[in-house]
Symmetry: C2
Subunit: 221 residues, 2 copies
DNA sequence: AAATAAATTTAGACAAATCTAAAAATAATT
DNA sequence: AATTATTTTTAGATTTGTCTAAATTTATTT
């Protein structure tokens, strides 16, 4: 058996290895992600290594083993399906569901996840536009570009976001941006890379480059 | 904060005090219910007493304090709402949902429970016919009688069951009995108190007295 | 290459929840 | 009322996940 805490570490390792460039993940990186100390991480790495969930060499770093990766995909699947349920069926906003899904993803029952998947109509993406792994861990890849790389006059539909924290999502809500929103790029200011754009052919908005780097779109013009 | 394990103990104390006759619950009773030892129970009782969830006198027994009772009702509400969701929305059978709901009831979020309640249409009873407490802990009492006390020729609708274990519920499935099933009592044999009855005006069935003591009905004739 | 800085691991300790075995208190029986 | 029997509690040990402080290894800088 694997404990809830061990699952959290596996998720952290997966997330870091996805976002970072290096193949191996460091102890301090995990410690920061988990809001704990490097010493605690080392203890846990030894345990996960004994259970063959990770490949671990002292002082060098870790990466997920095949079974660790499978576990991470299973957690991702559960997390994203529950987020979809909370938004689609219970009417939560996309910036309110992360903490609840964080708890729900630890519920043990394959039957439950598969039935939830069916009930939701086998969605391919969650409320933040992240792909939902199927029962075999396969993910649908989408053709998307980052808002900050688009050119003047081009038009796109928002399909996802890179950051998931409440503050960022709440800011997007305030300027009227959500999944499915149409965006027309009016002008990118070369001075600071900030972007003026038209939201849903109605409202104008100005986004800093920092924000634009975290928004994914499907280009339609 | 209260841990998941502490919540399990509170539920156990509540369940025992409901089913039994005495006001105070004994250490051994709790140990049996939780599948643990009396020593472990004593340790936990001291903790729950410090948190003022229970009223505890050494060697005498325990009962829930007002805040302990409120916590028990909250857990009961969550458990029964999740069971309703699993059966009504995800299509599970009533004998498959207990273990999953046992995990789901520990999810922390008042907002989630209240939204789930609304999504289900504010049900008053769960798939086993047990009453679902409202947000204030209030329960709807139903006018029900036990099958073993009914007389020949009388007719009723099954509204609940006293036992919830898989084996018992599965046996009821096999003879075609569920919540809402109409039952006509053909004859009660005085020899062993077993009962012959007509299920949904179609099938005949013979139930032992042990089984009949655990089925609740609303009398309609 | 030696010295300093940074990252990582070990050592030892702590709180939560559990256990076994032994002691103490209460209940039942003669 | 004295003696068993039962129930409950204490004492001491174990496991999991965590911590601080110290030691060790790797990386960087002079």
């Amino acid at each position: 058996m694997i404990t809830s805490t061990e699952e959290d570490y596996i998720k952290a390792i997966f997330n870091i290895s996805q976002s970072g460039k290096r193949e191996l993940v460091g102890t301090n990186q995990i410690a920061e992600q988990m809001s704990t100390t490097a010493a605690s991480v080392t203890d846990m790495l030894r345990k996960l290594s004994n259970k063959e969930m990770i490949l671990y060499e002292k002082y060098k770093g870790v990466k997920l083993s095949p079974s660790g990766t499978a576990k991470a995909m299973s957690l991702l699947r559960k997390h994203r399906l529950w987020e979809s349920f909370l938004v689609e069926k219970l009417g939560f906003a996309w910036d309110e569901v992360h903490d609840i899904a964080e708890q729900l993803e630890h519920i043990q029952s394959l039957e439950l996840v598969d039935r939830l998947d069916k009930y939701l109509g086998y969605p391919k993406f969650d409320p933040h536009g992240d792909p939902i792994p199927d029962p075999h861990g396969t993910i649908t890849i989408r053709n998307q570009i980052v808002l900050s790389t688009m050119e003047d006059e081009s038009v796109g539909i928002v399909v996802g976001v890179k950051k998931h924290d409440k503050d960022f999502l709440h800011h997007l809500n305030q300027v009227g941006i959500n999944i499915g929103t149409e965006i027309k790029l009016i002008h990118k200011y070369s001075y600071d890379q900030s972007i003026k754009l038209l939201v849903n052919n109605k409202e104008e908005a100005l986004l800093t480059s920092k924000v634009c780097e975290n928004i994914f779109l499907k280009k339609i013009k």
